[in-house]
């Protein structure tokens, strides 16, 4: 019986191999011709072509279209119906008497959004990495229900940002669950989202809550890649936990931390959906970030100012490009090391 099974198994493997080889056989004549025509050195470009086409269509072309919109005016959608305005849209965005006082700028809300982002990004990234690292360190220890807690902390990452934000709106609104709990304990209700400072803090909290799990997983993987014998040696040397953390864990985790840092900064600059649903950029303009400004200018406000939105998004893109290049360089450096 076993022999028959083996025979069947061998046959099916053989069949599968033949089936897998079929496409290669079919394209072989074409490859031979291409190799003759292009030469061996140019042949890799043929294999790269499908990817290059996809990247050109879905990455390069939109950027080029964006550039085209940023140098044209009018509320018409068709590029052929738009007029060339040169760098006027960029000039409008940058026109400011005092960059520290948005009210002196031609587009004050853009500069308020820039100002908010300049505070939001460092604070949110610092809190995000701090909490993610702390959680990863705890979950890297042999604690009870470790797998369960890892799942729990990662769970918000899988949720839609809109779902996350709506959940927090229901918790934080005037008649929300948080005020309900406070009320049942005899405390007065608190306006969590109507005070600008509080709304800003909650925006940071909600975005950290929603994305922390992602960074925690990366850091956890980094922690697990540190050889255990180094810790054992430190234990034998009676090194204190703080010394172990600062002299072993942190230095060895540095390449991973750098990648996490860059990813967190890029994500933080791009923050939109959670805050848009949570506060709509308010109260006033207290939580308006750059992407929110771009969305409102290009899509929510009539007549739609595609040119200004495109110019703002390209400026944001330039900032993100710097961070992405940095991330690529650092990750390459980490790999080389």
């Amino acid at each position: 019986m076993t022999a028959i099974n083996l025979q069947w198994s061998d046959r099916s493997i053989l069949l599968l191999r033949q089936a897998a080889a079929l496409p290669a056989r079919l394209v072989e004549p074409l490859m031979v011709v291409l190799q003759k025509v292009l030469g061996v050195a140019r042949l890799p470009w043929v294999f790269l072509l499908p990817n290059l086409v996809v990247i050109a269509l879905f990455s390069v072309l939109p950027v080029l279209i964006n550039i085209l919109y940023s140098v044209t005016g009018s509320d018409n959608l068709y590029p052929s119906e738009r007029h060339f305005v040169g760098l006027a849209n960029y000039a409008t965005l940058l026109e400011c008497q005092n960059y520290l006082d948005p009210s002196t700028c031609s587009r004050d809300l853009f500069w308020r959004a820039v100002g908010n982002s300049l505070v939001f990004v460092p604070v949110q990234v610092a809190v995000m990495i701090g909490v993610a690292l702390l959680t990863a360190l705890i979950l890297n220890r042999r604690i009870r229900a470790r797998a369960f807690f890892r799942g729990i902390f990662f769970f918000p990452v899988m949720l839609s940002p809109v779902v996350v934000a709506m959940t927090w709106v229901w918790l934080l609104q005037r008649d929300g669950a948080l005020n309900g709990m406070l009320g049942s304990l005899g405390f007065a209700r608190v306006s969590w989202l109507t005070d600008p400072a509080r709304a800003f803090k909650w925006s940071i909290f909600v975005t950290v809550w929603a994305h922390m799990g992602f960074y925690m997983v990366i850091l956890l993987a980094g922690l697990q890649s540190i050889p255990a014998d180094i810790y054992e040696a430190a234990k034998m040397d009676r090194a204190s936990p703080w010394r172990v953390f600062t002299r072993i864990t942190l230095p060895l985790l540095k390449p991973v931390l750098l990648v996490v840092f860059i990813l967190a900064v890029i994500r933080s600059v791009q923050t939109f959906d959670e805050i848009y649903v949570l506060t709509g950029g308010g109260p006033g303009s207290a939580t308006k970030m750059i992407v929110h400004y771009i969305y409102e200018t290009g899509f929510a406000v009539m007549p739609r100012n595609y040119g200004l939105a495109a110019a703002a998004s390209l400026m944001l893109g330039a900032v993100l490009f710097v961070f992405t290049a940095l991330q690529m360089k650092l990750s390459r450096g980490g790999r080389d090391a």
Binding site: G73, S74, D75, N76, L77, Y78, H83, V85, A88, S103, S106, D108, L109, Q173, R174, D175, S191, L193, T194, P196, A199, Y276, T279, G280, G281, G282, P283, G284, S285, A286, T287, K288, H292, E296, F299, A300, V301, M302, P303, N305, G307, L308
Partner: protein, 422 residues
């Protein structure tokens, strides 16, 4: 044999030609129509029955699609032949002038108030750009039960916004109700208050007007928030152009006076029933008028249609008195056409409070001043509405003063016009 083959080819060609011409004839009698109300299908079926050979492909779309997708479709030369539109004046450049195809005098008589705003940047032209059987109106809902419990008399027919603020504050205090007054976070709702206080908003040349009326309205509105007459949860909690409403508060008896609109009437009837007594009062007055903003959808045909006659015939059919009367009666909405406003509409199946509320809304229609219609049909109305919402919220959170906010609103709208014309 050769003859037989030739005859077969000729026959095939003839059949092909006939089928092509038949298809063309069918296509010549076909239009696509979109709306947000499934009840319109009844009228579509009636139209096709009365017009044999005419085919109307009707589809129901979301209101969001009308607001966001339709302008993009029209900008790219696509879209249906006939559609409901919400931005009356903003899309006027795409409308088909129905004048050559319909009884112009009938349209001018019945839709006198809404034809100018539907002309966009040429309100004084003579184009007939569409029709609207029914409209929505901004308006207040008052919890009468709370007034009775507090033993406070309801403000009268010509009560001002200040009268309502004072009365509802007393009622909220006496009955320990959470809030005295609430207003949707919407520039359109705020425009009712502004026009009541004399804000012109748009002048004859199509430019935005930031006048003392607008300033007064913002000052009062901010003052009511500072005095806790209105909660910060709507205008004070969100930023930008985000729309937000808390009508649920009124349904749950948590607010004495809610300024929303006629579209929630059915909700009131079905969800409140006889849980508490409610009413729609006359439009609160300002120093200039007692008015609310008109709104809602209008039906229009587009220039790109290949069937202008059929599209116009369909709109003329919708504008027929019997059809408007039936549609408004079924939908429980507010009439626009002069004859229907004057003679009233029967609402079979509507409850007594609902009928009373509808009558109250209908009574406001003749009071709407030209400024409200002019603003409603202005091409850049959305720019003004969005800016008002954004800037007033900034005043509420102390980012701007009232004067600065008004200056910013003016600047925002002017920049929007300039960018669109650039």
């Amino acid at each position: 044999m050769r003859n037989a083959a030739g005859a077969t080819i000729r026959l095939a060609l003839a059949v092909f030609a006939v089928s092509i011409s038949f298809a063309a004839a069918v296509a010549a009698q076909e239009i696509s129509v979109q709306g947000i109300d499934a009840d319109m299908k009844i009228l579509v079926d009636k139209f096709t029955k009365e017009n044999p050979g005419a085919k109307v492909n009707f589809r129901v779309v979301s209101y969001q699609s009308i607001l966001e997708s339709l302008p993009v479709q029209l900008a790219s030369g696509q879209g249906p032949d006939v559609s409901m539109v919400a931005d009356w004046g903003g899309l006027a450049r795409y409308y088909l002038n129905l004048r050559p195809y319909v009884d112009a005098k009938y349209f001018e008589r019945e839709f006198a108030a809404i034809l100018p705003p539907m002309r966009g940047e040429e309100p004084r032209g003579n184009a007939i750009n569409g029709m609207s059987g029914s409209m929505t109106l901004n308006g207040a809902f008052v919890n009468v039960t709370l007034f009775k419990q507090a033993g406070i008399a309801l403000p009268g027919a010509n009560a001002t916004w200040d009268d309502w603020a004072a009365a509802t504050r007393k009622v909220a205090k006496a009955t320990k109700t959470d809030m005295a007054m609430e207003m949707d976070r919407s520039g359109h709702r705020f425009a009712s208050l502004a026009i009541s206080y004399g804000a012109k908003l748009v002048d004859e040349n199509g430019n935005f007007v930031a006048d003392e009326g607008l300033k007064t309205a913002i000052r009062k509105f901010v003052q009511w928030h500072r005095e806790d007459v209105m909660p910060m949860d709507l205008w004070g909690a969100v930023g930008g152009a985000t729309h937000r409403d808390n009508f649920q508060d009124f349904l749950n008896g948590k607010v004495v006076f809610y300024f929303g609109g006629s579209w929630t009437l059915n909700k009131m009837d079905s969800e409140v029933g006889d849980l508490f007594e409610w009413m729609v009062p006359d439009a609160p007055c300002g120093t200039s008028s007692c008015t609310v903003m008109p709104g809602g959808g209008a039906m229009v045909a587009f220039k790109h249609t290949r069937q202008p006659r059929l599209a116009a015939r369909f709109l003329a059919f919708l504008a027929r008195e019997d059809n408007m009367r039936a549609a408004i009666g079924n939908r429980v909405s507010i009439p626009v056409a002069t004859t229907l406003v004057e003679t009233g509409v029967e609402y079979p199946g509507a409850s007594a409070p609902l009928r009373e509320a509808l009558a109250s809304f209908t009574r406001q229609v003749p009071k709407i001043p030209p400024a409200a219609y002019a603003f409603q049909g202005w091409r850049y109305q959305r720019a003004a509405l969005n800016s008002m919402t954004t800037r007033i919220s900034q005043v509420l959170t102390n980012e701007l003063t009232v004067d600065a906010a008004v200056a910013y609103i003016k600047k925002d709208v002017d920049l929007a016009i300039q960018a669109a014309r650039k």
